[in-house]
Amino acid sequence: MNQNRVDEYRRNFMTTLGGVAAVAAVVPSFVLQTAHAAGEVAAKPVDQAVTNAKRWGMLIDVTKLTDGGAGMVAACKKEHGWGDEAHSADTQKAHWARVVKVTDKLTQNSFSLPVMCQHCENPPCVDVCPTGASMKRADGIVQVNKHICIGCRYCMMACPYKARSFVHEALQDQKPHSPRGMGTVESCNMCVHRIDAGKLPACVEAAPDAVIFGDLNDPNSAVSQAMKTIGGKQIRADLGLNTGVRYHGI
């Protein structure tokens, strides 16, 4: 047996250990799901394709967000580096997520919530994209494959949530884990790079008491259990898009 092979085993073994550690770390959130732990992501082997066995989603409890979600938005901005386009006007700057204040016209009841890509089961942006750049991954994550995005912006016309932005200028020094560039459309991708590494999305991590993240297909996951108990409303439920981002308290 040569040294390379030993190295290989060593690495494999450590990965397995890492996986065990990750599972151990999430066990409390199974037990204490009523305590609104932020949820769980099981690490996926890097060489295996995602499947539709899982569907990632989150429940945002608006009543527990003291800042209306501003902290979540800030975490997203830090993670992906959007919004600081120097040449673009304010109306042209990217916004992957924003805090929307809602006031009912009749009752004057008011609340704030973070709005980003809702990761629909039937996403209009995916239907309209001519090249298939706007795509839904097998595990329910809706994202833009910028390699084949031609920048036609039809998806932005189609999205009911205004979740998408067009990059209006050349960029440099992007985050290595979050490529984004001129002439393509972009949006929240649920921090797909973190999920694939077994980590929670940045916004979920920023608001662990108000957001539960997890597998919507698994009836026993913390997020499914929480939704079963307190419900999970959709924005524009009338459109029948079956969103993966759900809210409590709207």
Binding site: H95, V100, M182, I235
Partner: protein, 402 residues
């Protein structure tokens, strides 16, 4: 009077031809400049934003594309419906259709965020997307129109003339249905999501395409000193009136439906009553200047056989068509998306506010470049191939008219 044969001939070499090419060339150069400017710096140099994502270039592009399918109608009336008086104009009709479509597509393509990836758009299709279908429809339209011209120009394939004409006519109806459905399929926006968009775009294409054809026909004949009689022009004149009436009918149906459905009432009230520039463009641009004025010019008895009145009617029909497209495209996007019906919303990303849009000079230059390309292609076309009959005087066009 004995009937005279229709003889097709290329236009003659003249100073005017080169002057026209030079003028169009200048606009083409400006369009190219605008493209390279936006391509190099990114779309932040345009007036388009993350709220109004489609701007003036799209108004030009869709206007030209819509007019393209309409311009083919003149030929189709001759071929498909057997009206002999229209048949000599079939070649020009198809040439104009191809040129308008290419002019519109070039604007659409050059405004993409990644025009360099056109090959991706041509090879990677998402068949659920009406946009992808449109790419196929556009290419097919170009091919069918070319074949149609071929059957008109080459005696050897004359037997396919009727077949090619019917195929092109059918295809163009599907094409405009597709163009209208680009908007009709947008579930998110209350101003768009309606099946009426498809027939509306078809009847718009009838009107705009014919108006463009009338102008091109007139100037092609007067600038080359060829006779063009009132028989032909009066046929086109009353046809134009019918098409304008058709647009008004479907626009009326669309807006009344919108006002009736509570969900759409907000955006309808915005466009029709308090939308500022969009309301003005609708009432003054589209309805008064673009519809009622051309109708009066056409039907005013004192202006019967008056060529200038017809040309003005055609011009204002085009103006009205562009005003209509501007209201549909920009006005529809200016009105904010409704996230929470019945509630006021606000954010730092322009939720709940009317979105501003001010087209930049670059967008105008790009759009005019597309128009220039269309006219450039027509000018070269009639020069190098036999598109235009030598004469369309009353005696030639309709021997039984007198």
């Amino acid at each position: 009077m004995a009937s005279q044969a229709i003889i097709f001939r290329e236009t003659k070499d003249s100073k005017g031809f080169y002057i026209l090419l030079a003028v169009l060339g200048a606009f083409l150069a400006l369009g190219a400049l605008a493209f390279f400017h936006a391509e190099h710096h990114g779309h932040h140099v345009t007036g388009m934003t993350n709220q109004v994502v489609w701007g003036l270039p799209h108004v030009f592009a869709i206007g030209l594309i819509v007019a393209a399918s309409g311009a083919l109608n003149v030929g189709s009336i001759g071929t498909v419906f057997g009206k002999k008086i229209y048949q000599p104009m079939g070649r020009l009709s198809a040439l104009l259709a191809i040129s308008l479509l290419v002019g519109g597509l070039i604007v659409l393509v050059l405004d993409l965020g990644h025009p360099d990836r056109l090959i991706v758009a041509m090879t990677t299709y998402n068949f659920k997307s009406i946009f992808a279908w449109n790419i196929i429809l556009y290419n097919g339209f170009l091919a069918l129109s070319a074949v149609y011209i071929w059957t008109m120009m080459d005696r050897k394939v004359k037997k396919f003339y009727k077949l090619a004409g019917v195929a092109a006519f059918t295809w163009r109806l599907i094409l405009t249905t597709g163009t209208g459905s680009i908007f009709g399929f947008l579930v998110a926006r209350d101003f768009y999501n309606s099946a009426v968009m498809a027939p509306l775009f078809i009847v718009m294409s009838f009107a705009m395409g014919l108006a463009v054809f009338i102008l091109v026909l007139h100037f092609a004949y007067t600038w080359t000193g060829r006779p063009l009689g009132d028989v032909v022009m009066n046929r086109l004149r009353y046809l134009l009136a019918v098409f304008i009436g058709g647009v008004l009918l479907l626009e009326g149906a669309r807006h009344f439906t919108g006002l009736y459905i509570a969900q759409k009432a907000g955006v309808e009230n915005f466009i029709l009553f308090d939308g500022g520039i969009y309301t003005q463009l609708f009432w003054v641009g589209q309805i008064m200047l673009g519809s009622l004025l051309p109708l009066s010019l056409i039907f005013c008895r004192k202006l019967a056989n008056n060529r200038v009145a017809l040309l003005l009617a055609a011009l204002f029909t085009i103006v009205g068509g562009f005003a209509q497209l501007y209201v549909i495209l920009i006005g529809g996007q200016a009105y904010p998306l409704v996230l929470f019906p019945g509630a006021e919303v606000s954010s730092d990303f322009f939720d709940g506010v009317i979105n501003a849009y001010e087209p930049s000079i670059w967008e105008l230059m790009l759009g005019l470049g597309g128009v220039a390309l269309t006219l450039f292609m027509v000018t070269i076309g009639v020069k190098v191939l036999r598109f235009l009959p030598d004469s369309l005087s009353d005696a030639v066009a309709d021997p039984h008219s007198k």
